[in-house]
Symmetry: C2
Subunit: 425 residues, 2 copies
């Protein structure tokens, strides 16, 4: 008997029909002798509708009350799912985040899990019931208030419960068949990946792959939870995201692929601080100013100083939404920093190729540069990790670059991938 | 500084505009120096919509999950109301039934309050905040589950909190200006009552007056909570429902009116067991059979036995919804009971005149009989309490009977009452 955690996103429980379909799948899993814990998001657009209602009531909703409001969404979906399963003759009990022991920090809207005490979930399983748990939400012992986990919250709830219950696996149901070598909507020849290491998945998620949230993958990796990304529409086995603890599903002898996938995103902006005096400590000074804004800096490039001026340019990328506060902070510190120009450019895209095999394989960067060069795509910035190479290009060339690299690294499938509607979040 | 509990029904918080209007009223009450606890129902038709969703998912929803589902309704309205008040510059915190300490029996859908421990509500007040509490819901210590209180639940929550917090008064906001001498939609000359004793209110509520739920009035009477029934649309003072403990708002010397109000309802059915052997214990035997069905019997009439047959007829009324189970039970016991005929009649109406002054005033029944007789309305059954006379007539004569009695007992106003849309529940 295995213990399986299954997570269903909002599009999987968008209406009564979808809820019945999901309930049927859960009942099947239970009837084949498994213990089942289900984590569910709010139905379809419920969260957006509740946000709109809040906006109609007051311009800046108090975070505590917004969390109270939004948690009604999963309360509805989990109760409906539990009663539907019970109606199919299988015992089921729903639990709020608080009842399921999701203990968090008191930070409304972006709480972090500090402890998971799923005593009631364990009891429900011991009584033979399926436990349905509200995703995205928790409870702070400090403030005694209801909290929400923020983006990717439901995936994280599922992984955290799987870890705390020592589950055999955590299945994340979405609207695609699994993790693909790249977004099939951009590159129709994208292939489903059967197995991927959690560190590769982390790099892909951090580079724009939307199927799994970075935070959930990190949690799974740290706690050795084996993730299965599967479609709630098909019966396909999906993608296994394995960790150092669980190991590759086909055994230890499987060799890492050189390149596992290509990810891209166009949601960052490039800020260039020009004519910076090339003296020790100047870069540190600039990034101290940026750090105070709490912006998430990604790629940083410093040009070689021109010999005649002793000045240099420093460029870095930040999420577009944070561009304004960063430029304002730099503008305010212009005098003390002593730079000459400040440029903001949000017409950029970041493309990353990821593969654990890079560690033992040389020539990957050369292959990447050549492929982009031959396609006439100019590289503006470069950043690398042990298993990833990221480049920044013009935004309008992003999709072309993805297709070019997908082909260049031999990832193309023989046939076009099926793409379902929806987003699976 | 007074402590005021204000309860707003679903129609008072049906949309963002209504929520803002209610928030404004709460803010005004707070700013005049009062401590304010607000009890709120689910927005408009939310509860019905959730019930429909449940019905779409499964034919007979599990009661535990149905309670979990329905409690999302007040969670939404209370969070929206709290953030709206905060947006107006007044501190506000929302609390679920569980957080507000509404401890109930574990009976899903019809839980009874067993304890009220509003520690967090008291703390919120001490910090200067308005406390917004979800009506209708509670928490069972035994099952550790969320419960709902059933019909009239939000009124009862408000009264129970007012009692536990020793509030100065409990204001029930609705869509009419207060308690009327009868339903203004039936008798346009109905008058708003300024003050009514809780025992009179109890009789009116039990006889079909919809403005306050019986259960809430009982709780208020038992715990000495002064209720104010007011319109959430106008600024009028409304009706004070006083208790023996609080006394008449105008002092002890105010004389009770002979007749305070007229109530009516057409939701009961008359069951007549005909040709019952007139021997001791036969009636008891019949009502034992009925009692086993848990039906709520109201009026009972036993005809005088006809001398030639030594048989008699026994009639009683039950809510229409319970008619079937009662007739089935009687049918099944036909042989042992030895009666001859069983008649079911749901074309009846019950009209009640209520007034504490009846105790000291004679001739009220005679006046009632004469008025109905002169209007050509036949009386089929009669029942009386110390402060009430109820009669059963044909259903299609109900409204006429109400108007006739309203006029006969001098309750008519000089001008027509204003009737608002909605139901205020």
């Amino acid at each position: 008997m295995a213990l399986i955690v299954q997570k269903f996103g909002g599009s999987s429980v968008a209406d009564a029909e979808s809820i019945k379909r999901v309930a049927k799948r859960i009942v099947e899993t239970r009837r084949t002798g498994n213990e089942v814990v289900v984590v569910v998001s709010a139905m379809g657009d419920t969260t957006d509708e509740l946000m709109d209602l809040a906006a109609d009531c007051t311009p800046i909703p108090a975070p505590r009350e917004l969390d109270m409001l939004l948690t009604a969404g999963e309360r509805i979906s989990m109760a409906l799912l539990a009663m539907t399963i019970k109606g199919m003759g299988v015992e089921a009990l729903s639990f709020t985040g608080s009842q399921a022991g999701m203990i968090t920090t008191p930070d409304h809207g972006s709480a972090k899990i500090v402890d998971v005490t799923p005593g009631r979930v364990r009891e429900a399983l011991d009584e033979g019931a399926v436990a349905i748990v509200a995703g995205f939400q928790g409870f702070s012992r400090d403030s005694r208030d209801i909290t929400t986990l923020g983006r990717g919250g439901s995936d994280t709830t599922a992984v955290a419960l799987a870890a705390a219950l020592n589950a055999d696996r955590c299945e994340i149901y979405t609207d695609v068949d699994g993790v693909f070598t790249t977004d099939p909507r951009v590159a129709p020849l994208a292939k489903k990946i059967d197995a991927i290491s959690s560190e590769e998945m982390l790099e892909l998620a951090a580079s724009g792959a939307k199927v799994l949230h970075l935070r959930a993958v990190e949690y799974a990796r740290r706690h050795g939870v084996e993730l299965h990304v599967r479609s709630s529409f098909s019966g396909e086995p999906g993608t296994v995201v394995y960790t150092p603890k669980t190991g590759h599903p086909k055994g230890d002898l499987v060799e890492d692929s050189v390149i596992t996938g290509v990810a891209a995103e166009a949601s960052e902006a490039k800020i260039t601080v020009g004519g910076v005096p090339d003296i020790p400590g100047k870069a540190a000074q600039i990034f101290e100013v940026v750090a105070k804004t709490d912006a998430n800096i990604d790629i940083i490039v410093q040009n070689i100083s021109a010999a005649d001026t002793n000045r240099t340019d420093i460029s870095f990328t930040v999420p577009m939404g944070e561009g304004r506060k960063v430029t304002e902070a730099l503008e305010a510190a212009r005098e003390s920093l002593g730079y000459e120009t400040l440029l903001y450019d949000d017409q950029i895209a970041k493309i990353a190729v990821v593969g654990a095999g890079m560690r033992t394989s040389s020539g990957v960067s050369a292959q990447l540069f050549r492929a982009l060069y031959e396609a006439g795509i100019n590289i503006e910035m470069i950043s690398t990790s042990e298993i990833r190479i990221s480049v920044v290009t013009r935004a309008d060339l992003m999709e072309k670059a993805v297709r070019v690299l997908h082909t260049a690294f031999g990832l193309d499938a023989d046939e076009t991938a099926t793409v379902y509607a929806g987003t699976g979040r």
